[in-house]
Amino acid sequence: MEFELTYTAAQEAFRSEVRTWLAENVPDGITDRPQSAEESRAIYLMRRDLGRRLGAKGWLYPSGEKQYGGGGLDLDQIIVLEEETARLGLGLPPYYDSGGRMGSASIRVWGTEAQKQRFLPPIYRGEVRSWQLLTEPSAGSDLAGVKTTAIRDGDAYVVNGQKIYIGSHHGADRYWTIAVTDPKGKRHQNVSWFMIDASLPGITTQPLYMLSAQSEGESDEFGHKNIIFFDNVRVPADCLVGGENNGWKVASTHLEVEHSGQGNIRTNPVWIALLAHCRSQHRDGRPLIEDPEVRSELAEIFSRLEAVRLLSTRNFWMVYAGEKRSYEGSQVSYLRKTTNLWLTKAILDLLGPGALTSDPALGAIDGIAEAQQRRGIVEQHPGGTTDIQRVVIARRLGVGNRQPQEAGRLGEEGLARKSPVEA
């Protein structure tokens, strides 16, 4: 076994090309923490502009097929691109593009050739930003219980309903959603997938403020989720992906990506900041790190986070090597969620009430600790609760005398790592 990535000469050559390009094209201030709504908007626009420039080179969605505007790059190159953007504190895409990242995987697996040609290039070139719209007020964990309807009427589907906990701030251009196309049909066989133009008449958006809404610009203060209302929205029939009433199968691809099927190999940035803090800060006249109790607590935190990192590395490799997957994606999602919630208390124990304030003088680790206290809670629900992850794991293991369930198809998209927003 070899747990580290090793690089070929070709990769190192590509790395220097990428590094040079990024130095010339990434503007100063793009990772600043915005101090006002205007700054937040300005940073978002910077990120979209960078996205278009990356898209023009095929580097925004490097694993996407070239014929559809993707990079057509191989995994060796994709790894380098992601490492180099991560080094600058950016992801690929450098903005929240949940519908693009996951939705494009669904199109690649389930879309018709015409749909691939129509939908993929604007995503891959960074011309549009897309959000996924799944949850409804009465359909969260029970996604198959969605009530939004899309009823065929001539050459269009007429969509009515509302979706909640959607996207981020600054809006989107495309929505990927699931809606009931056969109100009398059986569960799982009555829903379809749609790509919807966000500017269609009848769509309204209302901001929804959460305990934490980290997104572009790493800002919680100016970020929010949204509620999106559909009121007799006429969606052209050719925007349905994967066949009428086949939406549940399309969702399996989408959800596999969201359930951490992909894995990543990064060390938790909160850990890096926490260790540095304990080394540099003093309490009761000595560096925190010299307090035996602090050392024991840090060792415990490190051990727990290492378990998550190692299993993520395993998942990354499984996708990388084309190994058959089973429960691994949901396992990492479950462990990441439960560990980060546990971590809120561990950090509170370690740092005291300084972990609860973003005050520049009294707050710990430049506000990172305080943000983690909120995020550890908010992280529990996106992409499926911890309970849902356990349901998936049990099914994949074949517990309860069931045929072990197979993992969802990832398509070739599977290798793109998550943006920092979601990782």
Binding site: S303, L311, F316, Y334, D387, I393, A394, L397, G398, V399
Partner: protein, 370 residues
């Protein structure tokens, strides 16, 4: 990055797996255990024939000098079978300790004898009424008698001491500051070996009463501390624990699918599923920490720190996994004839084998240079 096994690693794993399947049926293990038999010399003879006794011994001394991951795979499979033997104590722990000692004729001869299987060298380290703070701190002072040394005192929680041809005793000699080990024939006058009763697998108290130790049987630590030198042994120990968890997982899934209550397999109940998932997560955390530590040792990436991570995680995990398995199995799991308790008992016995998990984590912090 490549987390696959090499063909030779796969071959080793499969040969151990096949040995366990053919020769160590659970019913036989249960029979031996209920009759108080702690190990099976016949099985050990087969380890010897396969060369596993010399897995970590250098080729020049007659061993196989396998890479750490290959040894991990051997012990994972033995742990999966709950195969009781002094192999871990002798060929992993004692071998690693000896390899850290200054080269000497006695050291090399002992390593060769371990590899050949002629010597079963069991480390006798812990002293009563002391908390664990590393191997060096366990030393029992020797007194002088003419040209020989004399050993008096006792060592406790010594695994498989009844199988030992020799004991590797941590000692201190007045003439040398470096931590020392004495290679003492188990049949020496003054040695009493007493099996400890209770929820332990083959643990003994070894008492020495004016036992003569030849000066030539003393070996001294070299540049590396004994605790650092045990890195590979810690990882291999963790692998044995991981193997046990893998088997408990399989047993728990199978039981959840066949045990019917309320007219349905109990695995349909999410509370039962939760126990299995807790077991799975504990197992995978330990398994991948173990594999990574084996890689870190081989590739020179702070293998000592990684071995402490693997060791502490595996001890915590095996304990947790066994508890979860019992929650799945309920009453039948507590029946010694069923076989689950073979694993449970090992999970408890091995919990502190190379130091408590908390101590191992503190060592990890020190080794990482925090």
């Amino acid at each position: 990055m490549d987390l696959s096994l090499t063909p030779s690693q796969t071959l080793i794993r499969d040969s151990v797996r096949s040995f366990v399947r053919r020769h160590v049926p659970r019913a036989e293990l249960v029979r031996q255990t209920t009759q108080g038999q702690t190990w099976d010399p016949g099985w050990f003879g087969q380890f010897r024939e396969a060369g596993w006794t010399g897995a970590l011994v250098p080729e020049a001394l007659g061993g196989l000098a396998l890479d750490p991951l290959s040894v991990v795979l051997i012990f994972e499979e033995l742990g999966r079978g709950a195969v009781p033997s002094p192999l871990l104590a002798s060929s992993a722990i004692a071998a690693c300790l000896l390899l850290a000692c200054r080269p000497s004729e006695r050291r090399d001869a002992a390593l060769t004898a371990i590899a050949d299987g002629d010597m079963i060298l069991v480390p006798a380290l812990r002293r009563p009424e002391t908390s664990w703070s590393g191997v060096a701190a366990t030393a029992t002072p020797l007194t002088s008698n003419n040209r020989n040394w004399v050993l008096t005192g006792s060592k406790v929680f010594v695994p498989f001491a009844d199988a030992a041809t020799h004991l590797l005793v941590s000692v201190a000699t007045p003439d040398e500051a470096a931590p020392a080990l004495a290679i003492v024939p188990a049949a020496s006058p003054g040695i009493t070996i007493r099996l400890l009763p209770g929820f332990l697998q083959a643990n003994h108290e070894v008492s020495f009463d004016n036992t003569t130790v030849a000066a030539t049987d003393i070996v001294h630590a070299g540049d590396q501390s004994f605790d650092d030198a045990l890195a590979t042994a810690r990882v291999v120990t963790a692998a044995y624990q991981v193997g046990g968890m893998l088997e408990m997982l399989d047993m728990s899934v199978a039981h959840s699918n066949t045990r019917i209550q309320f007219g349905t397999p109990i695995g349909r109940f999410q509370r039962v599923q939760d126990h299995i998932i807790r077991l799975l997560n504990a197992m995978d955390a330990a398994r991948w920490a173990t594999y990574e530590a084996a890689w870190a040792i081989e590739s020179g990436r702070n293998g000592v720190a990684r071995s402490y991570l693997a060791g502490s995680t595996a001890s915590d995990s095996y304990y947790e996994a066994a508890s979860a398995a019992h929650e799945v199995h309920a009453a039948i799991g507590s029946d010694p004839r069923y076989g689950l308790t073979l694993y449970t008992r090992i999970s408890r016995t091995m919990y502190e084998l190379l130091g408590p998990p908390g101590w191992q984590r503190r060592q990890m912090a020190d080794t990482l240079g925090w």
